[in-house]
Amino acid sequence: MSEIAAKAPTRPRRRLIASRLVPYLLLQALIVIVTILGIRLLQPSDPDDYAVSDFSAREDGLTRPITLPHFTSSRYSLADPPCYTGTFTFPSGDAASGWSVYLPRFSNAVEVAVNGVVVLDSRRDANANRPDRNTPQIAVIPASLLREGANEITVRLFVWGPLKGFLDTVYVGPDAALRPAYETRTLLFVTLPVVFSAWQAILAVILAIMWLMRRHEPVYGVLATAMVLGVVQAFAPPPVPPATVSHLAAVLLASAPIESALIVAFGVLFFGWRWPRYGTLLFVPGVAVFVIGLIGGPPLPRILFLVLGIPTVGLCLFLMACITAIAVVRRQDAASFTIGCAVTIVLTCWIQDMLTVLEIVNNDRIFVSRLSYSAMLVAIGAGLTWRFARALNQVDSFAGQLVTRVREAEERLKASFAREEERARAATLANERTRLMRDLHDGLGGQLVSIVALSERGSTGAAITDAARAALKDLRLVIDSMDDIGGDLMLALGSWRERTTAQLRPHDITLDWRVATPQGLPLHPELRPWHVIQIVRILDEAVTNAVKHAQARRIAVTIDTFDAGQGPYGVISVTDDGSGFALAGNGEAAGAGQTARGLRNMKSRAARCGAVLDLTSDASGTRVRLKLPQRFPDSDMAAG
């Protein structure tokens, strides 16, 4: 039961892996075939008409006839090199065109003599002697050396082990016929590697900069290091054996295994895996070649390179192929496919070279690994750049999305703000209407009704006039209170003084006005029209009481500002010299008359705007003291 349950999820997974791996492997097989065919097709052709193949070779004191191309045994001494002697015919009448000797492939170095005179010594061209490159050589034979008929050509082949010496067919003929073949080989095996190496150098710089700017991505650093090693290996002149700088030779030999190990490291990091601890073992062969090269002189490092270095390169290529295969199965993306195909090509080339070295395949000893490896590095570099550009695009589109989102949010916010503002405006309007209605109801409405009542009762004169004047006064008060006074209650009191003075003039009552401080009252930014109306109505009531009920002759208004340490507050006092009225014990006016109702009104109005009303009255007069709050309440305290 449990076995089935455990197997159930594995089976589709296996099927998935197979469905992904099989096409990939088939593709790689196809690539292998195409690569081999390509190598075959690209094999440069030589002008066979001028081939000189029959030579007598003198090697180790032994002379025997051979046919080129020919392998000689590996040797470690430059003394007494194998010497090939052959003849070629210089036709009469061809003295006008220059003749050349062309060697398409040799290893490691050659010295060519025609009729006993040396015309070419490749040891002077360090790059020509590298066994990993397939450098051709050509030399013009001075016309004076040529004799009509048979001429002798001698080729001395210098070999330094452990590789066997090799001499391909030698061509002697008119320079015009030989040079195109030479140029083709130079293009393929000299210029192209230089171009690739230059490319590599540029990518190394770019990748190094990327790594410097993004230290948390060592993948760039690893690849940059590999490329730098490759460039150094490509451009540093290899020492020719008589030279004493053997240490440099060791370093150059060590570069290939180290490079390949770095490429494996790159692969692991690029596909987002952790570099395993034992992975460092991959670097051991390269380092070993390097260290031994530093200690021991040649040919030990070369032997070690052949034994350790080249298999390491092969192992690394194989590991890389496995890594990319896993990546292809897991990720199925363009990058892993591309790298996988590149690795397959390089691996094929490496196997081809191995077969060439082991003389299993006769390939005129043309090595293609280095060339394909350079091409692979360039491909990887291009891939990384592509990935970088794509990341930039993603950042761009992310930024674009962000801008769009922010704009959308802004729009929403604006809309909701407009809604909110509209709502607030509506609420303000409603509040204002309520307040206005209450104010008009309190004053103007009542007064107009009383005018109607008085007219209906047939009253004439003073009563109606008073009521109508009161109504007008109230209307002006309501209009006045709506004005923006910027929190300065003094501005409202100014108008009130004016109205009150005009009101008192016919009664022949003096209004004394005393403002204790130049500023008047403290500013109240929170002051609202309804506060102003309540305060002014209180003052109106006080004045009306003084005129109507107390028969005062003099009314004094005092405006004062006090500060008890918690901020300033204003006090407005209205004092009259009238007859006063009796107060009950609780401060309320005795009796239920108009005065009492007026006083109750005043108290409640004061309470609504947070003020405190004090009333003292005796026979010498009445004093109404209105203590304003430090801060006016936002909402009507009495109304809720």
Binding site: D488, L491, S495, G520
Partner: protein, 227 residues
Amino acid sequence: MTEQGETGEAITILLVEDDAPTCWRLQDALAKAGYEVRSAGTLAEARQALAAGAPRVLLTDLRLPDGHGVELIREMRQRFPDTEIMVISALGDEESVISAITVGATGYLLKDAFPTDIATTVRDLVAGHSPISASIARFIVRRTQGAAQTSAEPPPGPVLNTARLTPREIDILWGIAKGFSYAEIASHLGLSKQTVPGHIKNIYRKLEVHTRSEAVFEAVQQGLIKL
């Protein structure tokens, strides 16, 4: 008692008011004080009356059956610059008073003022003392503040150019707006009490916009009109 001007003749007043009871009331109060009052109910009647000669004082309502009092005031200022003009207002609100001032009125009269106050106001006006209310003063000084703060949006209400007012005149207006008497303002500002009413008239004159083109110019100056 007959009110007389400098020449000894009775002071003539042209009263333009369409509401008959109000007109009677004002006419009675003024006639009782000794003024020679002619009354008109419409703009046309007023113009007819002017044909007979310029009055010393023009009292006019703003809302008239055949037009606006502002037109009459403007005409008067152009034809008879010596005539003192006052606007009659039911509420003394800044909307009507300020619009009259900007065309040349130098004061206002409340329709329900007590008869003695009506006579006193006209007498003061003829003597060169322009009446001003706390709320009008307040409106003007608030406008000077508004002009200093921001000119992005014209404030509501009539167009008013306060740019020509001096700081002293603005101080006087502040005093009036806060309910101080002329005497108190004079002592605060170190002025003679008698000079304050003259300042008020100057203020009115400075607020006057003389011609239409000048009105446009002022509006541009204040940023009310964007060219």
